[in-house]
């Protein structure tokens, strides 16, 4: 119910957006011709392999989009490398053969753009917000970020060094809260897993992770998360071997169809 409502709001926001941004809506409508025409001069047809490096949190939605892309453009093959944005960025600057990079934070995207490995300016295609993940049925009756500071409650956070941890600290600071977790986990999935296994009572993770975990955890939104929204930028890479397909894939991600898949996974429209 809630997800559907959020999706509807996101779609409204998106259509409002695209009316002011003509170029993106046209490429969205005619991905193949629009994108390929802008590339190496083989109009109308996109084919070949395209390699997409994407943040781990995009795994579910991008896999869906990849399958759609291959269906819409027969003869293409999308290969994904999902991982931590930092290590993906390090791979790209180190010469990894990729056509598209979708990062979970502008900070990691900056590593790639600063190294001169991006072609053009990255665009934010979705945003992700934090949510509290609790045990199914929320037995500890957690309803706010402040509730996590209750003594006796085992809470895990992401380490401050990784994006989800930095975001959590921002949200805590916004609420003027001091929270001592039992562990600072190395990434968002590790934090979520501790709750799924019932080792921890709650974790601060992304909405999309709560969504992907299904009924193994229960999500509790909190207002402070508005202060710690993560932007996800996407860019075509300079050394892309398949410029046409890279452009077409980015267009699909930014299209109304792509946004529907992403918001369905819990992302917010930019």
């Amino acid at each position: 119910m809630r997800a559907a409502a959020v999706g509807a709001v996101a779609l409204l926001a998106l259509s409002a957006c695209s009316s002011s941004d003509d170029s993106s809506s046209t490429t969205a409508d005619s991905t193949a011709s629009g994108a390929a025409a802008g590339s190496s001069g083989t109009p109308g047809q996109v084919s070949g392999a395209v390699t997409v490096f994407a943040a781990a949190s995009l795994k579910e939605s991008f896999t869906t989009l990849g399958a759609r892309f291959e269906k819409e453009h027969p003869g293409t093959k999308v290969t994904f490398s999902f991982g931590g944005s930092d290590s993906l960025a390090a791979g790209i600057t180190g010469g990894a053969p990729a056509d598209v990079f979708a990062s979970a934070s502008p900070k990691t995207m900056k590593i790639v753009t600063d190294a001169g490995d991006a072609s053009g300016t990255p665009t934010v295609f979705v945003r992700n917000q934090l949510e509290i993940a609790t045990l199914p049925g929320n037995p500890d009756k957690i309803s706010s970020l402040g509730d996590l500071t209750r003594p006796g409650l085992k809470v895990v956070l992401c380490d401050k060094e990784v994006p989800c941890g930095a975001a959590a600290q921002k949200a805590l600071a916004a609420g003027g809260l001091k929270l001592t977790p039992v562990s600072y986990e190395q990434d968002v999935k590790a934090a979520l897993t501790k709750v799924e296994l019932k080792e921890a009572d709650a974790a601060v993770v992304y909405r999309t992770d709560v969504h992907a975990a299904g009924d193994k955890v229960e999500g509790v939104p909190f207002p402070e998360s508005a202060n710690a929204v993560n932007d996800y930028p996407i860019v075509q890479l300079k050394d892309a071997g398949n410029v046409g397909a890279a452009k077409a894939f980015i267009a699909l991600v930014r299209s109304a169809e792509g946004q529907k898949v992403l918001t369905g996974a819990g992302f917010l429209a930019p």
Binding site: D86, K154, V156, D159, E161, V162, P181, V182, S183, Y184, E185, Q186, A190, K194, L197, K198, E199, A200
Partner: protein, 292 residues
Amino acid sequence: MTSPVGKHDAPAERDAPSVAPGDRPRRRVRRGTGRVAPLPLLAPALIGVAFLVLPLAALLVRAPWRSLPALLTSAEVWQALQLSLVCATAATAVSLVVGVPLAWLLARVDFPGRGLLRALVTLPLVLPPVVGGVALLMALGRNGVVGRWLDSWFGVTLPFTTAGVVVAEAFVALPFLVISVEGTLRAADPRYEEAAATLGASRFTAFRRVTLPLIAPGIAAGAVLAWARALGEFGATITFAGNFPGRTQTMPLAVYLALQSDPEAAIALSLVLLAVSVAVLAGLRDRWTGAR
């Protein structure tokens, strides 16, 4: 293909005295057969050395020597190092208490399924440590097969505690001790124990008074190996015990997380671990080769 092998064996022994006749008197069995290594062996061996040593040397080259003192004296690093040393030592103690008897069982008692038991005991040697951590969570976690009862009966939960770190480290370190001690036991002559038994000693007394002193070097070597392994343990620790500064954040965890934002700090921390490990293994070398 067979002739070079055959050729190598024979001349090596004959060459040794002729090339370096002065060495003849101090010849020892474990010194090997000669001093002149044939090129087909030497070249790959040196490549092997370079392959193993180069990355470590690179760590030294890239180390932020100027900011090193400041990085290493920060409270968090000191905490992590202290915790690492304490936990590795505790894990070694645990390994000694259960590992020596276990090794004795494997070496001295003939029972069906001994081979299988040995395989199971040494499994953590080849298991990815993360798998070990997951297995420990399933067994000893708050919701685990055994951990559930520990929690509801005694209110004890191991994840997210220092004790959890010790458990995770002992899990990966114990096999090193068992293997080392078992090997020493097999090399030790059981007739001493039998003699003690004929003189009226009980089996346990014979073990305590005869076997234990006999295999002491092997136990020491195994303990140092286990300690070094526990010190470097990462995967099982972060999976099972989590990461909290001062409580469960050991040096390897600190290195991993520092790498996400501050590679210089990660290099500095790695240097400390490297120094400690080299010191321990170098100190152990003679005893280790002696035990072999």
